[in-house]
């Protein structure tokens, strides 16, 4: 089981790298560096010059992640007895295939906003799945036991975390729409910038509330406090990165080409956003694991905890 968990972590890390590679394509305006898909100019290994380096590099990383996902699925079917984990593995494969096809559509349809946004959003969802698989196969998940029931009359923490998660996901969609609505040499639409700022405020409130609640109710439980604190720290970093990304992006249309400060900071903002999302996923999953709301949830928790194949 340890091997499976490590492999799931590897796939999750590779997915994170893939998100960074995809963000680099967008920031370099390299999505249409070739009219071709899935090959680049009819070649598997074209000359990686100009923006083709970023676009074809992204495709190569994506192919690697696809292969790793297939390998992970096989590994899961060999080692894992929990049926729902197996199903999640199948779902991961379906998601990565769909993501590849969406990537192809973005090229063939010349980057229409809805398709590009869907591609960026599915990337985050796929990352969510791979991280979830890493969580579900971890020792800490399997060995975790339910904590005491939450006080009656209080809002369950799991709902607070779910709210934060949904808010972050909506914010990621707005961010993806904003990012793909204008290339580096165009100004970003004001209404989308305002929407993204509003979304950031909503995330601060939702995640802040969830984190504060964790710290108040479960101070000594690192199983919950660690992801909660990490998510908050990442959120603070993300807010600064967002501000910096906005400043560099504001100047970008006057630049002769996409410049490294704008590219670096914007990509870091995308990557950090993904980390805030998955850290909140870890927190949410863990609250569902150790904070059963009812007898039935407690039963479910028992069922999901102990079935190990090794």
């Amino acid at each position: 089981m340890k091997g499976l968990n490590r492999f799931a972590i590897l796939v999750a890390c590779a997915t994170f790298f893939l998100i960074i590679a995809g963000a680099l394509v967008t920031s370099h305006d390299a999505g249409l560096a070739t009219e071709d898909w899935p090959l680049s100019n009819g070649q598997v290994f074209p000359k990686m010059v100009g923006n083709l380096f970023w676009e074809h590099g992204h495709r190569m990383v994506a192919t690697t992640v696809g292969m790793l996902t297939i390998a992970l699925l096989i590994y899961i079917f060999v080692k894992e007895k929990r049926r729902w984990v197996r199903r999640l593995g199948v779902f991961a494969l379906l998601a990565v295939v769909a993501q590849g096809l969406l990537g192809g559509l973005t090229v063939k349809l010349l980057l229409p906003l809805p398709v590009s946004t869907a591609h960026a959003t599915l990337a985050q969802l796929f990352f969510c799945i791979t991280v979830s698989l890493a969580v579900f196969t971890s020792r800490s998940w399997i060995e975790a036991r339910p904590l005491a029931h939450e006080e009656k009359g209080t809002l369950p923490l799991r709902y607070l975390c779910t709210t934060a998660l949904v808010t972050i996901f909506l914010q990621l969609i707005i961010g993806a729409t904003l990012r793909h609505s204008a290339t580096w040499d165009q100004h970003l639409p004001t209404e989308l910038i305002l929407a993204h700022i509003g979304g950031a405020l909503a995330v601060v409130i939702a995640l802040g509330t969830a984190t504060l609640t964790v710290m108040r109710r479960y101070k000594g439980e690192i199983f919950l406090t660690r992801p909660a604190m990490l998510a908050m720290v990442l959120l603070v970093v993300q807010l600064f990165l967002g501000l910096a990304a906005y400043m560099t992006r504001l100047a970008s249309p006057n630049d002769p080409q996409p410049l490294n400060p704008m590219i670096g900071i914007t990509v870091a903002h995308v990557a950090c956003g993904a980390l805030v999302f998955v850290t909140t996923i870890v927190l949410t999953l863990r609250t569902f694991k150790v904070l059963p709301a009812s007898g039935s949830a407690l039963e479910l928790s028992r069922q999901t905890s102990g079935v190990v194949g090794t």
């Binding site: 370099h28 305006d29 390299a30 999505g31 249409l32 560096a33 070739t34 009219e35 071709d36 100019n41 000359k47 010059v49 100009g50 923006n51 083709l52 380096f53 010349l110 009359g153 209080t154 809002l155 709902y159 607070l160 709210t163 949904v166 808010t167 909506l170 914010q171 969609i173 707005i174 729409t177 904003l178 580096w184 040499d185 165009q186 100004h187 639409p189 209404e191 989308l192 305002l194 929407a195 993204h196 509003g198 979304g199 405020l201 909503a202 995330v203 409130i205 939702a206 509330t209 609640t213 108040r216 249309p253 006057n254 630049d255 002769p256 080409q257 996409p258």
Partner: protein, 287 residues
């Protein structure tokens, strides 16, 4: 805490939904382009010219050096590659697209009510030194554009029109010329290369042949213009959709009309006595 938490929860959900709704709002596309209506008969009769000089007032922005490290071929062939959005020599501005937007030919017919045949000769657009040459060009609707690649690297030509179909085509070094045309009038279509993001060109697609691009000394001449009263527009890149200046001119039979334009700084459009000035149309600058 409970009540407060609920309030915060409702607030955060409402905020994010509001943000999402705002993100999904649509924008009406800009349709302010020359018409495409078919015309009845060709014009036959005396013609004159519209000519002038495009000036740049104030200090033009210095060209910005382009980093070609991503493709060494570009740097080898064109080591001093720089932006060419504002090419000014002795106060005269090159690459300004000047065209007759509208007007009435002597006799009362609108210029758009005549048929203007499409030239059979193709207009050239070359990629040379990782740079589009020319930077600004004009064609008539359905006139062929021959695109060549003179570089030892590959390019991709990617026009991003609003009224014509968008396309993106890779052209490896040594590949045959690409022939394209646009079937609707449009001012002006940006052309980029997603391989080399600094490469930009602009194509003006006109229904009439009444357009010209200012040369290195800032001069332009539009030939074969029927006598009449016209609105002449000078367009240059910059801002969201470029910057335009407008003048009204009267072209006498077999004579010449002058239309001088000025851009930059606190430029005002100069007029000859035969010209009547119209308020300049300034598109919002984002700089």
């Amino acid at each position: 805490m409970n009540k407060q938490t609920k309030v915060w929860l409702v607030l955060s959900i409402a905020l994010s939904l509001l943000a999402l709704a705002s993100a999904c709002s649509t924008k009406t596309p800009d349709t302010n382009t020359p018409g495409d209506t078919a015309t009845a008969a060709p014009y036959s009769g005396p013609t004159g010219t519209v000519s002038g000089v495009i000036s740049y007032e104030g200090t033009p922005p210095a060209p910005k050096k382009i980093d070609t490290a991503a493709d060494p071929v570009c740097g080898q062939k064109n080591p001093n590659l720089a932006t060419d959005d504002t090419v000014v020599k002795d106060g005269k501005l090159a690459n300004t697209f000047v065209y007759i937007k509208d007007g009435t030919v002597e006799g009362g017919k609108k210029v758009s009510e005549y048929a203007w045949s499409t030239p059979t000769t193709a207009v050239q657009l070359d990629q040379n030194g990782c740079h589009y040459v020319p930077h600004v060009l004009g064609v008539q609707v359905n006139q062929k554009i021959t695109i060549t690649n003179s570089d030892a690297t590959q390019h991709n030509i990617h026009p991003t029109p609003k009224n014509n179909p968008e396309w993106n085509q890779t052209q490896p070094n040594g590949a045959a010329p690409i022939e394209k045309s646009f079937n609707r009038a449009e001012i002006l279509i940006p052309v980029k290369c997603n391989q080399h993001p600094w490469m930009k060109a602009y194509i003006g697609v006109m229904r009439t042949p009444f357009f010209a691009v200012s040369s290195a000394d800032g001069t332009f001449e539009i030939k074969g213009v029927p006598p009449g009263k016209y609105t002449v527009v000078a367009w240059r890149e910059g801002g969201v959709n470029g910057t335009e200046k407008t003048l009204e001119v009267t072209v006498p039979a077999s004579g010449a009309a002058k239309a001088d334009f000025a851009f930059g700084g606190a430029a005002t459009t100069s007029l000859t006595p035969s010209l009547k000035m119209m308020p300049a149309i300034e598109f919002p600058m984002m700089h």
